[in-house]
Symmetry: C2
Subunit: 457 residues, 2 copies
């Protein structure tokens, strides 16, 4: 397998990928976080610096700027440049993998869920609250940021991390998906895509090279190649055309990324819709090009859930075991568990944030629609046993009132509850994979959802 | 002067009201907060329990529920009921007064600014963030809460403090002002006011007795009498009619409040518009009835600023020195300073929150409109020297972006900045009055606003 430039896979970790279970080396035990996941690069102050996954701390007594400075000091030691991007596989359990991505902005424990910060903010939450929910990394949208406030402007202001006051890792998408879903009058050609901005109608061009340039200006830790993502169902010729175009763009993206510093990573995106032959062809061709990580795109775009899961099950084994695998735009909590079972390491999705803004809570025993009048007199919190105060400290009656009265605090609290639950679920999965009990967790979680609230302990 | 039932004014403190400056007794020195204000009733854990005025802690590592329990334990000692409502005058400097209100939900340092929590939430902020901004007390609106979710419902859920998860003090208005400004087809009669709900058009009646009943169901620490507040300018006969009606309602309110427990307080409201003779008549009659505190209503409703300040200067001395004086619905930062100079102890106003939601920041050197395009590339924070991270940690360019993109975080951060500045200003005034330097602070603050940002240190 070709090595992309700047790649620095730990050979020992890579060799371990075929082992069923790999425990972290004993030397790491001292830095085990409360979720049982190793935390690197924070040094002796790890406890003081790391936010707890208990979102009790909507913020921290230590300002996030101070944390950022500390991280810089710890990571960079005054003069040393940040280390290269890398991925370590720490354990696996069946198809499920427990790993850690090293970035210039701190480690990312995998399986990881990335909250979506479309316009350089996770809607409704200050960055401290996003961090407190347990996120190591957020996703930001190239399409939105290139249009407003502009990538060159963000670069002049010191890059996206500083702009949005988020010192942890950032993945940027390439803009392709939003061009397809949001922009008007788009024209897809070999050279790239031309579209009208949804904000002011201005004509904008986005090529694979420009997408890489923009993501470089933003300074994200993980950049994505430009691809063409089709809505499903789509005809085979259309799927094949879009897949081949995406492959051509992948090669050009790789070339354009050549001058990027080694701490930044570029992921290729597997396309091919619901056609498994196209999917495998796409995956193999991308692996031949060689990327720091591989995404599966074009799922959760209209196909049945079984098709999505079967596609993941087929594609994941075709991707190298020593690189992170990212399932784009997925999904519901049960989708995360099933995708992790099939070898996925990273996720992003707007569901926890968007649903939170629309009155839908995801506590651990399944969704609760707070708009429903049956909550109006209910003194119970969403989940008295949750580590998240937003789930514990407010009655359903109050949340119902806030949602009905269209109060911002309703969106804020439900977004907090949802992101916290998603992160708790990821932490549970990481723990279970390390302990070799992922199958038990998967069954218990699924049963818990089926039983619903009445069965919750 | 007649004593309202349940009144428990510290006679020593009352005797001190004529002194120019009164320092807190030495025994209180140990519990001096970081702003130099005494904090009572928190006992030995004062430091651990009291939120710092530094809004760095958007929340606290200690859940607010835990704080509430601690406060209950501290205040109530297991079985002892909460102490009666009281006001202590701690110092005065010219007309300006430094005091402390004791409530069943903790002390309120005066001069105090009460953020407005109209629908049982200070818009955009979790209660922890409101507390972290420095607020000892919030205002909630009877009119809104009686219509949605309903006072009986809130009572059944344990009262407003529990409902909105705010363990500190709450003042509720009587609903009169909103009936006049929001409701449709209102009819004012001697018995009360009948109106159509702005939510669903339902016909609702509000009498002085019902306003007291509702506030009792909500369980606020300070209730307000129902009054009729006129927009200015208004004719003298109209002003006189409304003032006399408000006086009649004041008497009925006092009667209706007779069965309230001693830890709850009732304030009368001086009316009379811009007619000073009516104002003095109103004040004297209210003092004859006897209330725990006195509000000046019907200002900041269309009259010139000089008229407002002159009215305050005339009315305040007509009110008893040993009771808190509350200027309703005011105002801009400079109004707060000038009103404190004229003897006002309490304020509420939607400006810091409403303006924050509309892109207007109030840092210490005057307003900044973040909508303005000139901020688009400005890397400076709103105020690098602020104790508030929201003012310190985000560039104006980022705030401009959030406001333009209509992102909730823009409203959240600017609301935080504005409430924090208002509370810093109150704390500065409390310190200055205690130190006998209020005139210096007043001059320096006014000069600072005049110089603007360029002159800020």
């Amino acid at each position: 397998m070709p090595q992309p430039h700047g790649q620095n896979i730990d050979p020992a970790a890579a060799a371990q990928q075929s082992l069923r279970k790999v425990h972290p080396p004993p030397g790491d035990a001292a830095s085990l976080g409360r979720d049982g996941c190793t935390r690197r690069a924070f040094g002796p102050e790890a406890e003081a610096l790391s936010f707890s996954s208990d979102c009790a701390r909507f913020g921290s007594s230590k300002g996030i700027a101070a944390i950022s400075r500390d991280v810089d000091t710890q990571n960079r030691g005054g003069v040393a440049p940040p280390g290269p991007f890398s991925f370590r596989l720490l354990a696996s359990d069946g198809g499920a993998r427990r790993g850690e991505i090293a970035t210039a902005h701190g480690p990312v424990a995998t399986p990881a869920f990335m909250p979506v910060g479309t316009q350089a903010t996770v809607k409704g939450l200050a960055p401290e609250a996003v961090r407190a929910s347990g996120a190591d990394i957020v996703l930001a949208n190239t399409y939105h940021l290139m249009l407003r406030p502009g990538a060159e402007r963000i670069a002049a202001l010191g890059g996206l991390h500083r702009f949005m006051h988020w010192p942890q890792a950032i993945l940027t998408d390439s803009g392709g998906f939003q061009v397809m879903s949001l922009a008007q009058l788009r024209k897809v050609e070999d050279k790239g895509v031309t579209f009208r901005s949804h904000l002011d109608g201005a004509t904008v061009e986005l090529s694979p090279e420009r997408a890489i340039e923009i993501q470089g200006l933003l300074g994200s830790d993980i950049a994505m190649q430009l691809d063409e993502c089709l809505q499903l169902p789509a005809s085979r010729p259309e799927l094949e055309r879009a897949m081949r175009l995406s492959l051509a763009w992948a090669e050009r993206s790789k070339l354009a990324f050549k001058t990027a510093p080694p701490e930044r990573a570029l992921f290729g995106i597997v396309q091919g819709g619901d056609d498994l032959r196209l999917r495998i062809e796409s995956a193999r061709a991308l692996v031949d090009i060689g990327f720091h990580g591989y995404a599966i795109g074009g799922l959760a775009v209209g196909e049945p859930r079984e098709v999505m899961l079967r596609t993941i099950a087929e594609v994941a084994p075709a991707l190298p075991g020593d690189r992170p695998r990212y399932l784009m735009g997925v999904g519901m909590p049960e989708d995360l568990v099933e995708a992790v079972a099939r070898g996925i390491d990273m996720f992003d999705c707007v569901l926890p944030t968007r649903n939170g803004r629309h009155g839908l809570a995801f506590p651990r025993f399944g969704p609760i629609n707070l708009k429903n009048a049956r909550h109006a007199d209910d003194p119970r919190p969403l989940d008295a046993a949750s580590p998240c105060p937003a789930a514990r400290d407010y009655s359903r009656a109050y949340l119902h009132h806030l949602v009905k009265a269209n109060e911002m605090l309703g969106a804020i609290l439900l977004t907090t509850v949802n992101l916290s639950y998603y992160q708790e679920l990821m932490a549970d999965m990481r723990r279970a994979i390390a302990a070799g009990t992922f199958a038990d967790l998967r069954a218990a979680t699924s049963e818990g959802w089926a039983r619903g609230e009445a069965g919750a302990s």
